[in-house]
């Protein structure tokens, strides 16, 4: 597995009849990374994700999850993974609690963990009502709770915001961000809500007509930070000549833009600045207009 990836997909191909739905698709997800997967309807996002969960068999290609080949060692590979594909797959005639307990029994989950999941879902007394009576938001929270119950290293979320109201979307976003921090997970998610992709994703992969599109530079590696410091020149010198981390660019007399490879490099920079007593007046992630980039990549599609 290259560079310690949680998920590595290589050269996936899938054809239905005469239509090639996946054409040499390759992607990867690193630990603690949120990757946004975007593309128009029918581009191949769901097909790719279903291949990763082994709901669909590709005609050729390789998928490794946590180092295990999905087709040679399905059980080990899927142990580290959970998925919410389109609408949550729940048993409608069972209560929320019964859905959780059923999977908990199958996966040998401890009672303490199950209780944590009851609380995580924030469904309250409705846990004892049949799922068929739940709102979409409740189903989404229940589905996500069941997904993380086994503490997977990697979660697939296919259109997680579909059907949710604004409150539901905000709640889901906060939950995902919390999961990355507290549960040490990686996430691959697809969404048509480009605003949500912008807010959540560390990196974005574009797909169209079954092919991965070379990601525009503006969408690559989203660890771009704007530092406002009290000693711009000194800070620039440290970044470029001393610790030599990332690509630094002076934007103004007191701001530097730094492009990093990962979260750890940011920690190193912050520690170094503290050590040499450079005051950080402000630091924020550079936001990218995902919508503009989407139009650039896909045009009118």
């Amino acid at each position: 597995m290259g560079e310690n990836y949680v998920v590595e997909v290589k050269n996936l191909n899938k054809t239905y009849g005469k239509k090639k739905v996946l054409d040499d698709v390759s992607l990867y997800v690193k630990p603690n990374e949120i990757v946004g997967f975007i593309g128009p309807n029918g581009a191949g996002k769901s097909t790719t994700m279903k291949c990763i969960c082994n709901l669909i068999y590709p005609d050729s290609g390789e998928i490794k999850i946590n180092g295990y080949d999905l087709f040679k060692n399905r059980e080990k590979a899927l142990e580290s993974q959970a998925a919410l594909i389109e609408n949550p797959g729940l048993y409608q005639d069972m209560t929320g609690r019964e859905n959780i307990n059923m999977i908990a029994k199958l996966r040998n989950i401890s009672k303490e963990r199950v209780k944590e999941i009851y609380e995580f879902t924030e469904i309250g007394e409705a846990l004892d009502r049949k799922v068929s009576g739940y709102s979409m938001g409740m189903k989404q929270r229940l589905g996500l709770g069941i997904a993380i119950m086994s503490k997977p290293r990697f979660i697939i979320l296919d259109e997680p915001t579909s059907g949710l109201d604004p409150t539901g979307i905000i709640h889901l976003r906060n939950t995902i961000q919390k999961l990355i921090k507290e549960e040490d997970m990686s996430i691959l998610f697809s969404s048509h809500q480009l605003g949500e992709v912008e807010k959540l994703a560390d990196r974005i992969i574009c797909i169209n007509k079954g092919k991965i599109i070379e990601t525009p530079k503006s969408l690559e590696q989203r660890y771009r930070y704007i530092f406002q410091v009290n000693d711009n020149d000194r800070a620039y010198k440290i970044l470029t000549e001393e610790i030599k981390i990332g690509k630094a660019e002076k934007i103004s007399t007191d701001t530097i833009k730094v492009e990093l490879d990962n979260q750890e490099e940011l920690d190193i920079i912050l520690q170094e600045f503290i050590k040499v007593k450079i005051k950080i007046l402000d630091i924020h992630k550079e936001s990218i207009d995902v919508e503009a980039v989407y139009k650039e990549v896909y045009g009118d599609e």
Binding site: K50, E75, A83, E86, G89, Y91, D93, M102
Partner: protein
């Protein structure tokens, strides 16, 4: 992951489904209903059978009168023809008496007189055989009365056994006793309904998850696809077998409590061919007790049940459609009813069509050219073949989803 955990999980999911619970309730309601229907049919059968024999009596009377008239009116008939007519007159005179006696016993419906039917039928069958062998009556007589020489010999054999052993005869198939309820449970038309119910439950164990989308939860868990498949198959086999057995016991208990158990050793006739894999059913006649009949019946039913389960599961995996699965399954099972009523007993279809063996009475009593052991083998082999096809299809299936 342990298989028994997966099987228990499938059984748990099955009983959590409202649809399945409703089907099971309907199954037991059907059993209650059919017993109520049978109890009403008892009197109707007695009445109709009395009229049937009365009709035959009148027809025999017509033939008799016609022959007598010919003898009187046509003086220039040849000697041979005269002798033929006289022999026919003699036969039909005896036949009339026997027919009206049988009719009157059905009409009276006094169990103390049932033995008269048995002894009269025996005498009648012997008479028919003798007169056919002596060419006094033509073989068309058998077709008109819807029996064969073998039926007559078999009838004599079983009737004589009943008379020799002083067994209270059962002259009405709707006789309400616990023992007879087991025989009626194994009646072909009843089993067709039961197989359709089993088909409904079998398709649900796969299709319900596809239709509501819950397959996305189950099939992404860390166990092998073959474990998922085996789990479903084994669980539905367990559920269906228990349902059929409990249904039979429920039926038996209900009828026994109300009407009594009856004679569990009541005799049925078969031939030695029941113990052989044979394409003809030659051999000595032999008697089976009711208990033996019922046990053999359930032994034959089990591979048919397995065949039904894998057939329905297979169609559901291939089509992903409740409508198509139910349609195809019902058509294949229901075809047995059509074949029974429109195809000759001697047709090869009875030998090779799996659901022909649902008419267990015909198989065990060797009333057609099916073979008991072949029925078990045929249904078992077809179940295995369909199992392998369904397995391969499921293992490599792409779940494209979004039907919910």
């Amino acid at each position: 992951m342990e298989m028994n955990k997966i099987i228990r999980n499938e059984i748990y999911k099955f009983f959590k489904s409202r649809k399945n619970i409703l089907i099971i309730i309907l199954f037991f309601a059907y059993l209650l209903g059919i017993n109520y229907y049978n109890s009403k049919q008892y009197d109707i059968y007695m009445r109709d059978t009395a009229k049937f024999y009365e009709g035959k009596y009148k027809r025999a009377g017509s033939i008799l009168a016609s022959n007598q008239l010919m003898l009187e009116k046509f003086e220039d008939l040849s000697l041979q023809k005269r002798e033929e007519l006289e022999r026919e007159i003699k036969f039909y005179s005896g036949e009339r008496l026997k027919l009206i006696l049988i009719s009157s016993v059905y009409e009276e419906d006094n169990p103390k007189t049932y033995e008269r039917i048995v002894s009269t039928q025996n005498s009648r069958y012997r008479d028919i055989i003798k007169n056919i062998e002596e060419n006094n009556i033509k073989e068309e007589f058998l077709n008109e009365n819807n029996f064969t020489m073998d039926d007559l010999h078999k009838g004599i054999y079983i009737n004589q056994y009943i008379l020799d052993n002083e067994i209270q005869p059962i002259i009405n198939p709707y006789t309400m006793t616990g023992a007879n309820s087991l025989v009626r449970f194994l009646d072909g038309n009843n089993l067709i309904i039961i197989m359709i119910i089993i088909a409904l439950l079998s398709m649900d164990i796969y299709l319900s998850e596809v239709e509501e989308g819950s397959y996305k939860l189950s099939y992404t868990q860390p166990y092998k696809r073959n474990q998922i498949f085996f789990g479903k198959v084994v669980s539905i086999i367990i559920i269906s077998t228990i349902l059929v057995v409990v249904g039979a016991i429920f039926n038996f208990a209900m009828v026994s409590i109300i009407h009594g158990v009856g004679n569990m050793n009541y005799p049925f006739v078969t031939t030695e061919a029941i113990n052989k894999l044979a394409f003809n059913n030659q051999g000595q006649y032999m008697i089976l007790s009711l208990v033996n009949y019922v046990i053999r019946g359930f032994i034959l039913l089990f591979p048919i049940l397995l065949f039904t389960i894998v057939l329905t599961l297979g169609i559901s995996i291939i089509t992903d459609s409740s409508g198509k699965t139910l349609g195809f399954s019902t058509m294949i099972i229901g075809l047995a009813f059509i074949l029974k009523n429109f195809v000759s007993r001697h047709s090869i279809i009875n030998l090779i069509y799996p659901y022909s063996y649902l008419y267990i009475k015909d198989v065990i009593e060797v009333n057609n050219n099916s073979n008991y052991l072949l029925g078990i083998m045929l249904n078992s082999i077809m179940a295995i073949v369909l199992f392998v096809i369904s397995y391969k299809k499921f293992i490599h299936k792409d779940f494209l989803g979004s039907r919910e």
